[in-house]
């Protein structure tokens, strides 16, 4: 894909050190940065709760793991011979025979308060997703941490939200399935920061776990739908994007499911954004 879009920035959002060996992430990032010189950003995160659960992977120390991962990656890329015997990784006299040609920015895909602060302290940027009420608090928190280390202007905030251009009544049903998927994957601290009560989403989480997202989506209310997805006509979507910019987002990722047909949906939102 990177080879086919030669003038666009490309990022991976997100890959997890709980799932991939840290050296695999290190060399994959260097290889991809070689394909897209100065356009590549590495998104690093613990991974979605549902995905990790399906893989039988647990992450009991997400803050420590991501902190260790960032440190480890930067030392590998700096050409150090590395021995690490930590809780997260084990390396013995590891020396990479590859080096990046430029500093690869690391963006952390995080949600809870501790991880947000960590991102502000050590990363080059953050990938956020969640209800707008949550994003407001999260952006403020992460910006404040970044400012303390004197990197406020360089630190990038990326908001990644499921976006859907709605044309037909049936699109609302599709949007609710997406919302149910996101809700099922949203941890309690994020719901608390968003002011969403656990009671409101408890049944959705349970049905997503025990049945499927479609069944769970029957319990997605209009309020929850508007909180967890950006949906509407292109102008309405653009208004939400503008509000995110005002909150301090530097970039918006137009996340799936986009709308049907996809290209037309994306184009319409781009046009609405440009004319706003």
């Amino acid at each position: 894909m990177m080879l086919r879009i030669p003038d666009k920035k490309v990022g991976i959002g997100v890959t997890s050190p709980a799932v991939h060996n840290i050296t695999t992430i290190a060399r994959a990032a260097v290889t991809l940065s070689g394909i897209t010189p100065r356009r590549f950003r590495l998104g690093l995160g613990v991974g979605g709760l549902q995905d990790l659960s399906k893989l039988g992977v647990t992450s009991e120390r997400p803050v420590g793991m991501l902190r260790d991962a960032v440190r480890c990656l930067r030392r590998i890329w700096a050409g150090e011979t590395l021995t690490v015997e930590g809780e997260s990784f084990e390396l013995q006299r590891y020396f990479a025979r590859y080096q990046p040609r430029y500093r690869i920015p690391i963006y952390l895909g995080v949600r809870g308060p501790k991880l947000l602060r960590l991102a502000g302290r050590i990363a080059d940027g953050v990938l956020l997703s969640g209800p707008v009420s949550y994003l407001k608090k999260a952006i403020s928190m992460v910006r404040s941490e970044a400012a303390e280390r004197g990197t406020r202007s360089d630190f990038r905030v990326v908001v990644w939200t499921p976006t859907l251009v709605m044309r037909r009544k049936s699109d609302r049903g599709r949007a609710k399935v997406v919302a149910a998927t996101v809700i099922a994957d949203t941890p309690l601290p994020v719901l608390q920061m968003a002011g969403v009560s656990d009671d409101a989403v408890h049944i959705i989480k349970r049905l997503a776990r025990e049945s499927d997202y479609k069944t769970a989506s029957d319990h997605v209310t209009d309020v929850l739908l508007d909180s967890f997805t950006i949906s509407g006509n292109p102008e309405q979507i653009t208004e939400v994007f503008q509000s995110l910019e005002e909150l301090g987002a530097d970039e918006i990722v137009f996340g799936p499911p986009y709308g049907h047909p996809v290209l037309r949906s994306v184009n319409e939102v781009v046009e609405a954004w440009e004319s706003a």
Partner: protein, 325 residues
């Protein structure tokens, strides 16, 4: 004579991505059948390199591996093959295996006891095959084998890539694995190589380093079998303490090149290939440092063409490339 020999160039060992792509394109233009993209924990990420190679070539077959079934899950490997297939079509083959024990240990992957290893690798192959089958991807799966435990699995795969170069070791491996010339999996050899018309000392040194990596990864049993235990086994302790093989190169005997690589003159190549063909080998991959430069890749292609004419004048290996010699 058995089936027609096919030849490949090994890439992704110490080169920058741009060089890999350039040399792969040269290999295709010069008529080589395969580019094999290695994947080691200390080198660039093989699947992404394979994608870049595919993007710069159009017909050469691309082998990916060895992908270690201890470093990746079968699902991850299958996803990689599916992505490559979706992007570039039916041009890829996969080689899986355990991988280099010492290198894996350096990245925190500890090899299971031998008795657990074989079922794990075989289970991985079956799972990958099943996922690929369900998603409509057709690809050959090779086994990267060297030691006895892996060799016993060879017949379960579409092909076996032996990490040996000496004909007596290849003969032993084929016999041990119970492989036959006329049926069963394809037999291939993938070893460090430097086929030359006039050797360059710098590249010979790289061939020694590359051979050393194989020697240090060879099982004690195999070393004993070929009376090489004393020569190479003790050096492992020093190698374990050193981040790179280059640091202990001086302690290795020069024969390591003869023992573990295809390093020879173009004149010697025909007789070597004839020996391999007689053993039933049908695929030969010339590993690092044969891809040291575009010139060394071209030298290989010329040497192969000359060898083919000498070995089988009636059906000389016909170059599919644009460059004629």
């Amino acid at each position: 004579m058995g089936k027609r020999l096919t030849f490949g160039l090994g890439v992704n060992a110490n080169e920058a991505l741009k060089e890999i792509v350039e040399k792969s394109a040269a290999a295709e233009a010069l008529g080589l059948d395969y580019v094999w993209v290695a994947d080691s924990p200390v080198q660039l990420y093989g699947p992404a390199v394979a994608s870049a190679v595919a993007s710069a070539t159009s017909k050469v077959r691309i082998g990916l591996g060895l992908m270690s079934a201890l470093l990746y899950t079968p699902e991850q490997i299958a996803r990689v093959m599916k992505s490559l297939w979706d992007a570039y079509g039916n041009r890829f083959e996969l080689c899986i295996g355990a991988g280099d024990k010492r290198q894996l240990r350096r990245v925190g992957v500890h090899m299971s006891p031998v008795e657990n290893l074989a079922p794990k690798i075989l289970g991985a192959k079956e799972r990958i095959q099943s996922i690929l089958h369900d998603t409509g991807v057709v690809t050959r799966i090779w086994l990267g084998a060297q030691g006895p435990a892996m060799l016993r699995l060879a017949r379960e795969f579409d092909g076996v890539l032996l990490n040996y170069s000496r004909p007596n070791m290849i003969r032993w491996a084929i016999k041990f694995a119970g492989l036959r010339k006329t049926r069963g999996p394809e037999m291939g050899v993938y070893a460090p190589a430097y086929v030359h018309f006039k050797p360059e000392s710098e590249i010979l040194e790289l061939a020694k380093a590359s051979s050393a990596v194989v020697a240090l990864g060879t099982s004690a049993r195999v070393l004993r079998q070929f009376e090489m235990y004393d020569k190479y086994y003790e050096i492992r302790k020093a190698a374990d303490m050193s981040p790179t093989v280059e640091a202990i190169l001086g302690e290795l005997p020069n024969e390591v090149v003869e023992d573990f690589s295809v390093t020879m003159t173009a004149t010697e190549l025909p007789s070597y290939l004839a020996q391999l063909e007689n053993l039933g080998v049908t695929h030969v991959v010339f590993g690092y440092p044969q891809n040291y430069s575009t010139k060394t890749v071209k030298d290989l292609a010329i040497a192969l063409r000359l060898a083919s004419r000498k070995m089988q004048p009636e059906r000389a290996w016909k170059s599919r490339g644009r460059h004629k010699t």
